[in-house]
Symmetry: C2
Subunit: 665 residues, 2 copies
C-alpha cells in the first residue's frame, strides 16, 4: 500500500473512531428500552424466582427496587461526604449510593492530577503549609454546601481539615478545589465548616485549645494561656474565594469548641457551637492523672456557645478587633462587652448542635446524657435581654439553664447529631445504642416534643444527614447514617475495614434501612445531600486554554499550530497540545540540569474527552479535562530517555499517544 493511501486510511480510521464514539453515546438510552411495568400488571415471571434463589425477604425486594438505578438514569440527589483522614471529599449518588467522584482537597490524588506537579495546584496546597512544614494531607470532617436564604444553591462546597485548622473551597462548576486557607491562630478545628444563611461567612470552631498561634506554653498554664476560637471566614461569591483580610475570629475560653450551626430565619445573625471539656482536663495518664476522656467527663454540664456574628462583624468594622498573627480577633472582654458571646449550660459532653428548619430551636445532644436538649431561640433572646446570667471564670455570661432550656426528649444512649425531614420529625444518631431515634419536632409546648421510634443501624453511628435536611426546607425522603464500624457487614478485606454508610427510607411514613454502602476509601464524618438538579456543572471548560484555578483563559493557552519549544539559557519552555491521539510535540529534547517549564493545553471540547499525562521516572501526573491548560516545572537532574504518555484511555490509539523526553548528558 502506498504511504499516501495508508495515511488516508488512517484518517478514515480516526474518523471512524469518533463516529463510533458518537454512535456509542446514543446507544442504550432509556428511550430505546422496553416499557416500564405498571402497578396493576404482573411481576416479570422470573423476578420472584430470582428473589427466592437469593434468599431475599419482602423488605429486601422493596429495598432493591427503591435503590437500583437503571443505566443512564441519574441519581436524584448528590451527597457530599467528607473523607475523614483521607483528607478528601466524596460525591455519592442517592438512592444508588454509588461514589460518583472523589474530590482531592488536602491530600494529593494522582488520577485527578492533583498535587503531582501542576504548578497552580502546588501553590494552592502550599498556602496550607504550616510554619514551613509542607502539609499534603488532612482530616476532613464537615462539608458545607453554599446557601442562599438558608437553602442550598449548588454553587460551592466548603470543607475543613481538623488536623491543622484549614478550610478549603470547592467550585461546583468543575468539582475542583480552588483555595485552601490556614487559620493563623489555631492548629485544630473540628467544628467546621458551617455557613451562614447567605454564605456571607464560613464558620470554623477550634477544638483542642492551644495558646493563640499555637505558641509554646507549658501545659500547666493551660487555663491562663490556652484559648478557644471561632473564626468567621468571609466568602466572596463572585470571585469564589474566601477573603482572609475581611475575615475575623472571636476569642473563646479554652473549652473545646465542637460542632456549630448557624441560625436561620428568626435566628439569622446568630450561631451556636457546643463544647466539651469545660473541665479543662489536659490528661497526663502517664503521671497518674485521669486520662483525658475521664478528666473531660467529670461535669454534668458543658457550655453551648451562642454568638452573634453580625454584631461581631460590626465590632470588627468599628475597629474593636486586635490583629493577631495577621487575623482580626475580637478578644473575649470585647466580645462580651459587645454582646457577641454568651454561653448556656448543656448536658453532658455534647457532640451535636443543630438548628431546626424554622430557626426557632437549637437541638443539642450530650453524648453522655440520654436526652436531646432543645433550646428556644426566643428564650435565649429573653435571657440575654433580661441579663439572666452568671459569669464563667473567663467573664463570659452563662445564661440560666432553666430559662433557655425549652424541652428534653429521652432518646437512648449516646445521642450525637440531629437532622430534619419535611414532615416535622427530627432524627438523632445514638452511638451507643447503634440506632437512629425519630422524634416529633414540637412547638411552644415543651410536652409536644416527643420520641416516636428507634431504628437499629449497623454499627456505631456517628453523623447522620438527610436530603437537604439542615436547610430551611428539608426534602424528607432519605436519611443517610454514617456508621463508624462495619464489623461483619461486608466480605473480609483485612484488619482495616470499610465503614458502613446506610441509606434509610423515610418516605411515606417508612423508617427502614434500604442499602448498606461500604466506604473503604476514607472515613466520612459528615455529609450534606443536595438535589441533583441544583448543580450546574460544566461538561467542558468554557474556552480552550482554560486555567481552572483562576477560572479564566490561561496566558499559556496553546492552540493548534502554536506548539513550540523555547530555550532561554538553561530554561526550556514547552507549549504543548493534546488531542486524540497525540501530543504535539512528540519529542522534547533538553539537557541535564535544565529547568523545564511545560505547558499543555487539551484542545478537546467534547464531553468526557479528558487526557492524562504522566512522565516516567518523574513524579508528574496531570489530568487535562477538555479545554484545560496545565503547567508544571521540572529541574531535570538525570540524563536519559523517558516516555511521557496519555494516562486516560481516550481512543483506540490511546497507547500510541506518547512522546519521548530526551535528556542529553
Amino acid at each position: 500500500m502506498k504511504p499516501a493511501l495508508k495515511r488516508t486510511l488512517m484518517i478514515g480510521l480516526l474518523a471512524l473512531l469518533l463516529a463510533g464514539l458518537i454512535a456509542g453515546c446514543n446507544r442504550g438510552r432509556r428511550d430505546e428500552t422496553p416499557e416500564p411495568v405498571s402497578a396493576e400488571g404482573d411481576l416479570p415471571a422470573n423476578a420472584l424466582q430470582i428473589a427466592a434463589e437469593r434468599g431475599l425477604t419482602p423488605d429486601d425486594i422493596n429495598a432493591a427496587l427503591k435503590t437500583f438505578m437503571p443505566s443512564g438514569q441519574w441519581d436524584e440527589y448528590l451527597m457530599f461526604a467528607s473523607g475523614g483522614h483521607s483528607g478528601n471529599m466524596m460525591v455519592i449518588g442517592i438512592p444508588s449510593m454509588r461514589i460518583l467522584k472523589h474530590i482531592a482537597v488536602f491530600t494529593p490524588e494522582a488520577w485527578q492530577g492533583y498535587g503531582f506537579g501542576a504548578r497552580d495546584i502546588e501553590e494552592m496546597l502550599d498556602a496550607g503549609n504550616v510554619n514551613g512544614v509542607k502539609i499534603r494531607m488532612g482530616d476532613t470532617h464537615h462539608p458545607a454546601l453554599s446557601e442562599t436564604e438558608g437553602d442550598y444553591d449548588g454553587q460551592y462546597v466548603f470543607i475543613n481539615d481538623k488536623a491543622s485548622a484549614r478550610v478549603a473551597v470547592i467550585d461546583l462548576r468543575d468539582f475542583e478545589t480552588k483555595q485552601i486557607v490556614k487559620d493563623p491562630n489555631i492548629i485544630s478545628n473540628h467544628g467546621s465548616t458551617f455557613v451562614t444563611p447567605n454564605t456571607e461567612y464560613v464558620v470554623q470552631g477550634a477544638q483542642y485549645a492551644t495558646p493563640l498561634g499555637w505558641e509554646y506554653a507549658p501545659i500547666e498554664e493551660y487555663e491562663e494561656k490556652y484559648r478557644g476560637l471561632i473564626t468567621l471566614w468571609k466568602f466572596n461569591r463572585e470571585t469564589g474565594r474566601i477573603v482572609p483580610e475581611e475575615s475575623f475570629s472571636i476569642e473563646a475560653p479554652p473549652y473545646w469548641q465542637d460542632l456549630c450551626d448557624a441560625g436561620k430565619l428568626v435566628s439569622d445573625g446568630w450561631a451556636f457551637c457546643n463544647s466539651f471539656n469545660t473541665e479543662m482536663a489536659t490528661g497526663g495518664i502517664e503521671d497518674g492523672n485521669p486520662p483525658i476522656e475521664a478528666g473531660a467527663s467529670q461535669r454534668d454540664m458543658d457550655y453551648l456557645h451562642i454568638f452573634n456574628w453580625q454584631r461581631a462583624e460590626a465590632a470588627v468594622k468599628a475597629g474593636k478587633a486586635e490583629m493577631i498573627n495577621g487575623m482580626a480577633v475580637l478578644r473575649m472582654p470585647v466580645a462580651v462587652e459587645e454582646g457577641v458571646l454568651y454561653l448556656a449550660p448543656e448536658p453532658k459532653s455534647p457532640h451535636g448542635a443543630d438548628v431546626t428548619p424554622d430557626g426557632k430551636y437549637i437541638v443539642v445532644s450530650g453524648k453522655l446524657d440520654p436526652h436531646v436538649t432543645i433550646y428556644a431561640f426566643d428564650k435565649i433572646e429573653q435571657a440575654i435581654a433580661g441579663g439572666n446570667w452568671e459569669l464563667d471564670p473567663f467573664g463570659v455570661p452563662v445564661l440560666n439553664y432553666d430559662a433557655v432550656k425549652h424541652a428534653q426528649i429521652e432518646l437512648g444512649l449516646g445521642p450525637l447529631h440531629s437532622i430534619f425531614d419535611d414532615q416535622g420529625f427530627g432524627y438523632t444518631s445514638l452511638f451507643l445504642d447503634s440506632a437512629v431515634a425519630k422524634w416529633k419536632v414540637g412547638d411552644e409546648d415543651p410536652e409536644s416534643w416527643q420520641m416516636v421510634e428507634k431504628l437499629p443501624v449497623q454499627y456505631n453511628i456517628g453523623h447522620l444527614t438527610a436530603a437537604e435536611g439542615d436547610t430551611v426546607s428539608p426534602d424528607g425522603k432519605y436519611v443517610v447514617v454514617l456508621n463508624k464500624w462495619s464489623v461483619d457487614r461486608f466480605a473480609p478485606v483485612g484488619p482495616l475495614l470499610p465503614q458502613n454508610i446506610q441509606l434509610v427510607d423515610i418516605s411515606d411514613g417508612n423508617f427502614k434501612v434500604i442499602y448498606d454502602m461500604a466506604m473503604g476509601i476514607g472515613e466520612p464524618h459528615n455529609a450534606q445531600i443536595i438535589k441533583t438538579d441544583k448543580i450546574n456543572a460544566w461538561t467542558a471548560y468554557p474556552e480552550v486554554g482554560w486555567d481552572p484555578i483562576k477560572q479564566e483563559k490561561s496566558e499559556y493557552a496553546t492552540l493548534p499550530g502554536e506548539e513550540r519549544i523555547e530555550r532561554n539559557g538553561n530554561t526550556v519552555e514547552i507549549f504543548m497540545t493534546s488531542v486524540r491521539s497525540h501530543f504535539t510535540p512528540e519529542r522534547v529534547r533538553v539537557k541535564k540540569g535544565d529547568h523545564v517549564i511545560w505547558h499543555i493545553t487539551n484542545i478537546e471540547t467534547a464531553h468526557d474527552a479528558t487526557h492524562g499525562f504522566q512522565l516516567g521516572g518523574h513524579n508528574i501526573s496531570l489530568s487535562l479535562e477538555p479545554g484545560e491548560t496545565v503547567t508544571f516545572e521540572l529541574d531535570v537532574s538525570n540524563d536519559g530517555t523517558y516516555a511521557y504518555y496519555c494516562t486516560e484511555f481516550c481512543s483506540a490509539l490511546h497507547l500510541e499517544m506518547m512522546g519521548y523526553l530526551l535528556v542529553e548528558p
Copy 2:
C-alpha cells in the same frame, strides 16, 4: 461527687461503651430478619407499585434483584481492579459493585496511613524511587492474583506501575502493599503483571522502548540502541516477596511489547506477549513526520512474542545471562540460540493476548482488525520444531503465520481483550463498537470457532474480566466490562467524569448488563475476580505489637505499662500505646531541633478496633489496625503546642482521645 466515685462511673461508662458495641454486633443479622420469599408465593404487595413509580422495566427489576445485597450478606466475589493513574488498587464486591476497599500501592493515601510518615512504608516506597527522584505516584494497569496450578489461591495480588516500570506485591492476609521493585533496565512497563501457573514468576513486559537502563541515546538511533524487554520477577511464596537476585529479563526488539498471558496446562512453561509499533515509529509530528499513532499503524502485521520462561530460567542458571544494571539479562542472540524467544505475525496493532482455559489456544485481538485471531499452541510447537520461520531484522525467528494461525472470528470494530466462562464461550471487548462479542471457543476444527452475539455497553470498553475467567477453571456467572467513557450515564460532576464499570449477567444463558457502577476514584484498566471464600484475611494482627511490613512481631512493640519516653542527646524515643479511648502518654515534651522516633502500638485485639493518628502542623497520618505497631520519625523544626489525636471514630469518647506535643523553644 467524690473523685473516686466519678472514676468508678467513668469505668462503668467505658464498659457500657464496649457492651453497646458487642450488642451492636449482634443486631440486624440475617437470622433475625423475616423469611425470604418463595418462588411460588406472591410478590410483596407494594413492590410492583415501587417499580412502576420509578419507571423500572422488567429487566430493571430482575437486575435490581440480582445485584442487591441485604445488610450483612457478603458479596460472592471480590474484584481486584487497578486504579489506573491513581496509582492504587480497588477491591469491589460482586454482584453489588460496592467498593469495599481502596488499597494504596504506589501513591500515598492518608486514611490507610500509607506514605505519611510510617517509616517502614516510606522505606518501601523509596525502593521504587528512580535515580534519586522520589516517586510517590504510579499508573497501575493489570492486577494479577497469585495462582496455584493455574487457579487463584487468594494469597497475593501483584500490580504494575506503567509510568516508571515497577511492580508491587500485596498480601491478602491484610490487603496491604508489602514490596515495590523497580526494573533497572526499563522505564515503561504496560504489559504487566501476569503470573505463571504456580506464581513462580511475575511477568512484566516493557512498552515504550528506550536504551537499556533508559540511558540517553538520540532518537535517530532508535533501531540500533533502543530495546524491548520482558522481565520475570521470581516470587518467593514463603516470604511473600519478589527476589530480585533470582529474577531475570529477556532482551527483545524495540517493538512495543504489550499485554502478556502465561501458558497453562499443555502450554505451561511458555508465555505470550503481543506487541505493536513493529514499524518502530518514533513520531515527530512537530517536524512534519506522521504522528506516532499513524506511524505505528502502517503495517498489517505486528508480532506476538512467544517465549519459554523455563528454558530462559535454565539458561540464566547456566550462566548465559549478562548482568546489566544489576539484573541478569538474556541478550537477544542468546535467547534465540537457547530457543527462548520466537515471534509470530499478528494482525494489526494488537492489544489483547489471552490463553484459553485449557491452555491450548492463544487469542489475539488486533485493535485495527475486526477479527480475533486464534493461535494453536500445538501448531506453534510444530512450527518451532520444524524450523518454519524467517528472521526479523534483529535475528529473532518469526514463525510462519499460516502455520501457527488456527482460526479467525470476525467480531466487530476495535477488538481488544478476551475472557472466558465455564460454558465454552469467550467474550471480547470491542472498543469502537462499544460492545462485547460472545463467541464459541472451538476445537481443532477452525470452523468450530464462531461468533454468537454482541451486547452494547456504555461506552468505549477497554478491558473486560469474568469470574475467575482467566484461570484453568472459569466460574461463569459474571462478566465485568470496564468502560472508559461514561458521558451521560451519571449525574454531572464536572468536566472530569467517572468511568462506567458494568456488570454483565452471563448466568443461565443470559447476556445482559445488570449494573452500572460509577468509578470516580481512578481509571481501572484491568481487573481479576476471585471467589470471596478463597480469601483468608486477618481480622486483627496475629499478635499485639505486629509489624505489618515484616509480618512478624515488631522490636518496638509496646505493651500496657511499658509506655515511656527516652531521651538520648537530641534524640527522643517515644513508646506509646493506643486503646479506646486514650493514647499513653498524653503529653510529649520535646525541644525544638530534637529528632523524634515515635512508636505507637495499638493494643486492641477486637475486630474493627482501628485507631488513626494525625499530628497537627506536621505531615503525619497513621492507621493503627488492631495489634499493629507503627514507627515514624520527625525532625522537630518549630516550637509550639500541637495536638495529636485519634482520627478513627473509635468510641463515644473518641474526640477525647488526644494528647499534646509540647515543643519548647
